[in-house]
Amino acid sequence: MHFNEEDVNRIVTDIWTTILDLEIEQVQDVVALPPGQRSMVGCIQIAGEWQGAVTLFCPDSLVRKSAASMFGMSEDEVSEEEMQDTLGELTNMTAGNINTLLPQGCTISLPSVAEGIDYKITIPGGRITTQLGFMCEGEPMIAAIMERV
């Protein structure tokens, strides 16, 4: 299934500006997470007539900034658990909204969040169909949709 980039961009920017009150903008240049630094990924699986996953990749520092905004506290006060909760919920909102673009009846999983340095996420039999790069408060964020074929 082909996803319209404008739809995905609108979904992502609406969520980040409305919920987090952070400036975020899609960029056409290739966006990459800083190598050798800790980053986090949120993932939601979608099952039904269309099967795949929605993932958000963020540097650790951007998740911390987002969690601080969500919880209304300073970045120093944010816990690891609150960072995972924040990225999980951001991914949940993104996947839920993307699900409305899919055939009726597809269901989304609960979010999972992983973290590490220079890792790669794969879905067996899956391929990335849509990938958008964003810059948020000077930091990169990647939204990717993987389809299981």
Partner: protein
């Protein structure tokens, strides 16, 4: 009035509570629950007038929570705040007795529109 906010994300519960304040409903009493099962226990103990619930939750999801409440004769206002707002989900929610379905991300205006008639009265 007593408002119960049910969501497995602590971050989202905080945002719902913040949005309630922004919508002008900050003077109502609130409590939180992390899933439908916890929510049902709180309903028995606390008897809220209004329930704002997520749909996609572990242990007992929002729809199961609503069905359990209706089975017990809950007569308060129940609405979903969820990431999915497909026509099918909206129809299902209304058929089961929900009063509204607000999709995330939401604004204070969404809350004012759906909850105003009850909470302002």
């Amino acid at each position: 009035m007593k408002i119960l906010v049910v969501d497995d994300s602590k971050a989202m519960r905080m945002i719902v509570l913040r949005t309630l304040r922004q919508a002008g409903f900050g003077d109502h009493e609130t409590k939180e629950a992390a899933d439908g099962k916890e929510g049902l226990d709180l309903v028995h103990q606390w008897a809220p007038d209004v329930i704002i619930s997520d749909w996609n939750m572990p242990n007992m999801n929002g729809l199961e929570f609503l069905q359990a409440l209706k089975g017990e004769g809950f007569a308060g206002l129940f609405g979903f705040v969820t990431t999915e707002g497909s026509p099918k989900m909206r129809d299902t929610a209304m058929e089961e007795g929900a009063s509204f379905l607000i999709t995330k991300p939401f604004t204070a205006q969404s809350f004012q529109t759906e909850l105003g008639p009850t909470l302002n009265g």
